[in-house]
Structures are given as C-alpha cells and as structure tokens.
Symmetry: C2
Subunit: 212 residues, 2 copies
C-alpha cells in the first residue's frame, strides 16, 4: 500500500478510507499484513481522485459510478449515475404549462428523431426549464432550445467517436463516464470562453452589459 501511495500521490490513510467505502477494490493478500496491488488498483485510484476532485462528485456518486463500471452497466444506467450537474428540482408545473412545454419538446424530438416520452427524466427537466423561461418573461430564451438540441446532437457524435473504438468494454465504460462527467466541466469552461469572446466581438466598447 505504501508503493500504491507513492505512485499515486494519495496518502495511505486516504487509500484505506477509499477501501472501506468500497471505491477501490481490496488488494490480494500475500500474508496477514501484506496485500498486493496491481496496475488496475492504481488506475481505479486515479479515477476515484479525478471524479472527486476534478469532477466534483460526492463519495456516494463515485461509489455508484465505480459499481456501474464493475457491473458493466448499460449506457442508460451510466448516464443516470452521471446525472450530476443536472439540477432540476421542486419546480411545480401546472397542466397547461406542461402541455405547452411538451409540445415544444415533441417538435424538437421529432426533428432530431429522438425517442423521448413525457416520463423521461430529461424530458421532465426540460419541461421545468422551459416553463421557468416563460414564467420569468424571458421568452427570447425559448429560441435557443431547438438550436441547443441541434448542437447537442453534434456533441454526442463527437463523444461517441471518442469512445467507440476502445479495446475492452471496461475501458469503453470508464471512458464514457470520464467523458461525461469531466466533459461537462470542459464544455462549460469552453462555453464561458466562447460567450466572452462573442460578447466582446458583438458589443465591443458599447457592451450594454457594461453600462455601469
């Protein structure tokens, strides 16, 4: 374990904690006080650190993720555990608003040939978000919805191409998780940079957001 700690830079006490929490599998016992750790332990340890520190996941979420990887979970389950960042909560929507939002969603889903029912967790998120835009009086933001859907299709194609031709199912699953959790963070950073760039280019010195 001292070697594992030296190679990963993770303190021994922290590795023991991860072992207790089931985030990293136990090493093979070679004597009552001695366990052997392999390359896969080091890899798992790095993944756990990345999801916790860089991805900002909780211990519970990380356990879900590593269990999903070990069980070779279905894509759908993996996406479910990677729902972190998808914060849509107790926003109550009346029937009229729900019907209005679902009509917008169905139109976009049909155009993109997406299979998306009203009970889908993502459809529910979108209903809540669309109703919030309208309720706040920012109807202009509704125009971004079909454009975002088109752009989401473009990004999914990039994602699939990156993980599609890996040698083992384990690597595909791990890469899908890393790409989803850390890929969100990467895209958000790039989106902010691009927004700032576009804002400077469009508004220049006459930036209406800089009227103070």
């Amino acid at each position: 374990m001292a070697e594992l700690s030296a190679e990963s830079g993770v303190p021994v006490a922290t590795i023991k904690y991860y072992l207790r929490e089931g985030l990293v599998p136990a090493g093979e016992l070679t004597s009552p006080n001695q366990a052997q750790y392999q390359a896969r332990h080091l890899q798992r340890l790095k993944l756990v650190r990345a999801l916790l520190d860089v991805g900002g996941l909780s211990i519970v979420d990380v356990r879900d993720v590593v269990n999903a990887i070990d069980d070779r979970a279905s894509t759908h389950d993996l996406l479910r555990v990677a729902q972190h960042g998808l914060v849509v909560r107790k926003n109550e929507v009346d029937d009229e608003s729900r019907a209005w939002a679902m009509a917008l969603i169905n139109e976009v889903a049909e155009e993109r040939q997406w299979d998306l029912g009203p009970d889908d967790v993502y459809a529910k998120s979108l209903v809540s978000l669309l109703c919030t835009f309208r309720d706040l009086g920012h109807d202009g933001l509704l125009e971004i919805f079909p454009h975002y859907a088109e752009i989401a299709d473009a990004i999914a194609k990039v994602d699939l191409a990156a993980i599609g031709d890996l040698p083992t199912p384990e690597l595909v699953v791990e890469s899908a998780i890393v790409g989803t959790v850390l890929g969100d963070a990467m895209f958000i950073a790039l989106r902010r940079i691009a927004q700032r760039h576009a804002s400077r280019k469009v508004f220049g010195q006459a930036d209406p957001l800089r009227s103070a």
Copy 2:
C-alpha cells in the same frame, strides 16, 4: 406582502427571509406596518426562486447574482458569478503537464481567435481537465477538445442572438444570467438525450456498454 405571496405562490415567511438576506428589495412603506410591492418585486421574486430551485444555486450565489444585476455588472463579472457548475478544484499539475496542456489550449485558442492567457480562470480549468484525461490514460478523450471548442463557439452565437436585442440593460443582464445558469442545465439534459440517441443508433443491440 400577502398579495405578493398569493401572486408568486411563495409563502410569506419565505419572502421575509429573502428580504432579510437581501435577495429581494424592500417594498415602499405606505404606513409603519404596510409596504407596497410592485411588478419588479414579483419579477425579482420569481428570478430568485428560479435560480434557487431550478438552477440549484446557493443563497450566497443568488445574492451575488442579484447584486450583479442591480449594479449592471460587466459581462465578465456576470460570467464570474455564473461560474456555478464549473467545478475544478485541488488538482495539482506539474510544470511539464501544464506546459503540455497550455500548448493544446493555445493551439485551439489561436484557431478560434480567443484571447486566453494562462492565468485565465477558464484556462486553468482546462489545464486541469486535459491533464486528468491524460493521467487517466484516456488520451482518446483529448480528441474531443478542439471539437468542443468549435461547438462552444456555435452555442455562444446562439446565446448572444437570444439576449442581444432586449429593450433595457436590466433585461439584458437578467436574461444573460438566466440563459447561462439555466442554459447550462438545459444543454446538459439535451446532451444526455443526444448521447443516448447516438449510442442506440451506433451500437444498437450490440451495445458494448450493455454486455452484462
């Protein structure tokens, strides 16, 4: 205040809490026990609820956001307060790794004509993420980086078009905040839908992620 509560659906005790926390401005006193609330109070109350409930922001973040709106903050400051979701923390990167990542970032920034120095908060996030991809051995994920950058430019164009022609600076600022915070959530939901769709289309029944 009872009317404001009835119109917004927010309990009086909660409105009082928002007033104390400085999230909603005080009404105009018409008598020692009577204050008058206007349309702008209702609008602000709705915005606060949306940022807390749908956007998942903390009370402290919401206060930063409403202060930024009231001060007509610069675009840059607004984007800074809207950094929620950009979780990149204590990931230490050595000099060689940083130089390697900055070279990738500079190449992309040059292609996109972005102004992006090494001390930029977003550049730092990207350094951390790129190094994590490499450190985990998922070099294939590095290929997504220039594609994501191109897609981020496309989404920024959509964002700017949606907020560019609003009548007052206040509305532009509020719309930029709502579009950024809730727009992230909308894009993440759409990205998951698109990934699921692409995965089904590419892998079909032979989905390697569904080998269990």
